[in-house]
C-alpha cells in the first residue's frame, strides 16, 4: 500500500484523536490503526510520575491480566529497555538473553503478541512516561520492510496519541494548542500560496536546510503527517490566513 493512498485515512484518524472527548475514543482509534496497518497489535500505555496508569490497545485482555498477575512489568525487556529513555526501539535490539526474559517471551508469543515489535518511548511533562508499541508475527524480512515504510508515521502517531491522552487525563487542564511562531506562520503561509521550498527560503532569507527544520517543527506542532497536511491544518485552524 502506498503512502499517498494511506494519507487521507490517517489524516482522518488524527483528526479524530484531536477532537476525542473520552479515553474510549483512543481505544477505537488504536483499533482502527491496527487494522489499517494490518499488524497483529498496537498498544499505548502511560504511567504518570505518581504511578497512575492508563492504557489502550488490542492485546487479549487475558494477556493483560496475566501480565499484571505475573509481575511482568519488572521482567519485560521492552519496558526495561525503554523506561526513562527516549530513543525508539526495535525489539530485536533488546536483551532477551536472561532466563526470565525468555520465558516471558514464550508466554507472550503463546498469547499472540507476535515475534516482532517496535516500541516508541515518550517523555511527557512532569515525569509522565508513555510507550507506544506495534507488534506483529512475521519473518525478519517482512518486518524490516514494514518498519522501513512506516516507522516515521508511527513515531508521529505515538506522540499524537500521547498528546491526546494528556489532554483527556482526569484533573488536567487542557494544554493550549501550540502556537506557531511568526516565522513559522510566514513559512506555512508562503507554502500555502504555492511557493516552492526554494522560493520560501529565498523570500525569508534562510537556507533550504533551515527551512526544512522550520517545516519539520511546524508540522509536529500542527499534528500533521507531512507538509501538505500541515498547511491544510494550519489553514483549518486559522493559524494562517491565505
Amino acid at each position: 500500500m502506498g503512502y499517498l493512498e494511506k494519507l487521507p485515512q490517517l489524516d482522518g484518524v488524527i483528526a479524530r484523536l484531536e477532537c476525542a472527548e473520552h479515553l474510549e475514543d483512543l481505544q477505537s482509534a488504536i483499533e482502527w490503526l491496527r487494522d489499517h496497518y494490518r499488524v497483529d497489535h498496537m498498544v499505548y500505555h502511560w504511567v504518570s510520575a505518581n504511578g497512575e496508569q492508563y492504557g489502550c490497545g488490542t492485546y487479549d485482555p487475558a494477556w493483560v491480566q496475566r501480565y499484571i498477575d505475573q509481575g511482568y512489568l519488572r521482567i519485560d525487556p521492552v519496558v526495561l529497555g525503554c523506561y526513562q529513555n527516549f530513543h525508539p526501539v526495535d525489539w530485536k535490539r533488546l536483551d532477551w538473553s536472561s532466563k526470565s526474559a525468555r520465558s516471558f517471551r514464550r508466554d507472550a508469543m503463546a498469547h499472540g503478541i507476535g515475534n516482532q515489535g517496535f516500541s516508541i518511548p515518550i517523555r511527557g511533562p512532569n515525569g509522565q512516561f508513555a510507550l507506544f508499541t506495534v507488534s506483529h508475527d512475521c519473518d525478519d524480512e517482512e518486518w524490516a520492510g514494514f518498519a522501513e515504510l512506516n516507522r516515521r508515521d508511527l513515531i508521529l502517531l505515538a506522540h499524537y496519541f500521547n498528546q491526546t491522552a494528556l489532554k483527556l487525563a482526569p484533573g488536567r487542564a487542557p494544554e493550549p494548542t501550540q502556537p506557531l511562531s511568526p516565522r513559522e506562520v510566514e513559512t506555512m503561509t508562503l507554502l500555502a500560496v504555492g511557493y516552492s521550498r526554494a522560493q520560501v527560503a529565498d523570500t525569508l532569507s534562510i537556507s533550504e536546510h533551515t527551512l526544512r527544520v522550520y517545516i519539520e517543527s511546524a508540522r509536529f506542532k500542527l499534528g500533521a503527517l507531512n507538509t501538505t497536511h500541515a498547511v491544510a491544518r494550519a489553514m483549518a485552524r486559522g493559524q494562517i490566513v491565505v
Binding site: P88, K92, R93, R183, S217
Partner: protein, 212 residues
C-alpha cells in the same frame, strides 16, 4: 571508544562521568569563561543534566573522558527552546525527528580525531533512531573544527563576542559526510557501528527470536 550513556547509566562508569563533568568545567568555565555553574568538586552541571539526557562520550584508552556531547529530544524541555530563541528567529524547535545537542566538549589532552569520532556517533544516532536534524548550542569557535571534520552545522545565530560567543546551529548528515567524518576520525564505519550496537543492541547479530 565511543560510549552512549543515559544519565542514569553514568553511575556504572564513575571515572568516565567524573572526568566528563570536570572537563566540562575546564572548557566552559575556565577556558571559555561562560557563566556556568561549577560545584565544589570542580564539576560543571546544569538543569538539563537532571532530565536524563543521552551522553555520547569518547572514552580515552585510560578510561577517562576525552570528549562528549549531550542529547535531549525537542519534544521535551531543551536549552535552545528555553534560552536561545533569540538566535532561532523565535522558532522553538519541536519534533520527534529533531534532537538537541549541547555541551559539546573536548578534553585538553584528548586523542586526535575525538571531535570527528563524536560527530560520527551523531551520525549513528541519526541513522538508527530516524532523526533528521540536530539543533545544537556550541562555542562559536567550534565552527572551524566542525568544518575541518566535514560536519559543518548551519549557524542560525550567534550571541556574545570572542571566547564567550555562543552559536545555535543545525546539522544533518548525508552518507557521504559520514564517510568523510569516518576518515578524519580514523574510525572505520564498522567500528562506529559496533560501538553503537554495543550500547543499544545490534539487529544483525542477535539469534532469531522465537518461541522455541
Amino acid at each position: 571508544m565511543i560510549r552512549y550513556l543515559y544519565a542514569n547509566d553514568l553511575a556504572r562508569y564513575p571515572r568516565l562521568a567524573r572526568t566528563m563533568f570536570e572537563d566540562r568545567a575546564d572548557q566552559f568555565a575556565t577556558r571559555l569563561g561562560w557563566e556556568v555553574s561549577v560545584d565544589a568538586r570542580g564539576q560543571e552541571r546544569d538543569e538539563y543534566d537532571t532530565l536524563n539526557p543521552l551522553y555520547v562520550i569518547w572514552e580515552k584508552a585510560n578510561g577517562a573522558h576525552g570528549g562528549s556531547m549531550r542529547f535531549l529530544p525537542t519534544t521535551g524541555r531543551t536549552m535552545v527552546n528555553e534560552h536561545f530563541l533569540n538566535l532561532t528567529q523565535g522558532v522553538p524547535f519541536q519534533s520527534p525527528f529533531i534532537w538537541e545537542c549541547t555541551r559539546f566538549c573536548l578534553s585538553r589532552d584528548t586523542e586526535q580525531g575525538t571531535a570527528a569520532a563524536l560527530m560520527l556517533a551523531g551520525g549513528e544516532i541519526m541513522q538508527n533512531f530516524h532523526i533528521r536534524h540536530f539543533v545544537g548550542v556550541f562555542d562559536a569557535r567550534m565552527v572551524r573544527i566542525y568544518n575541518r571534520i566535514g560536519a559543518a552545522p548551519e549557524v542560525l545565530g550567534t550571541s556574545g563576542q570572542g571566547r564567550q560567543a555562543i552559536s545555535v546551529g543545525l546539522w544533518e548528515f548525508s552518507d557521504a559526510a559520514q564517510k568523510q567524518v569516518s576518515r578524519v576520525a580514523g574510525v572505520p564505519l564498522d567500528a562506529s557501528r559496533a560501538w553503537f550496537d554495543a550500547a543499544f543492541g545490534g539487529v544483525e547479530d542477535q539469534p532469531a527470536i522465537s518461541a522455541a
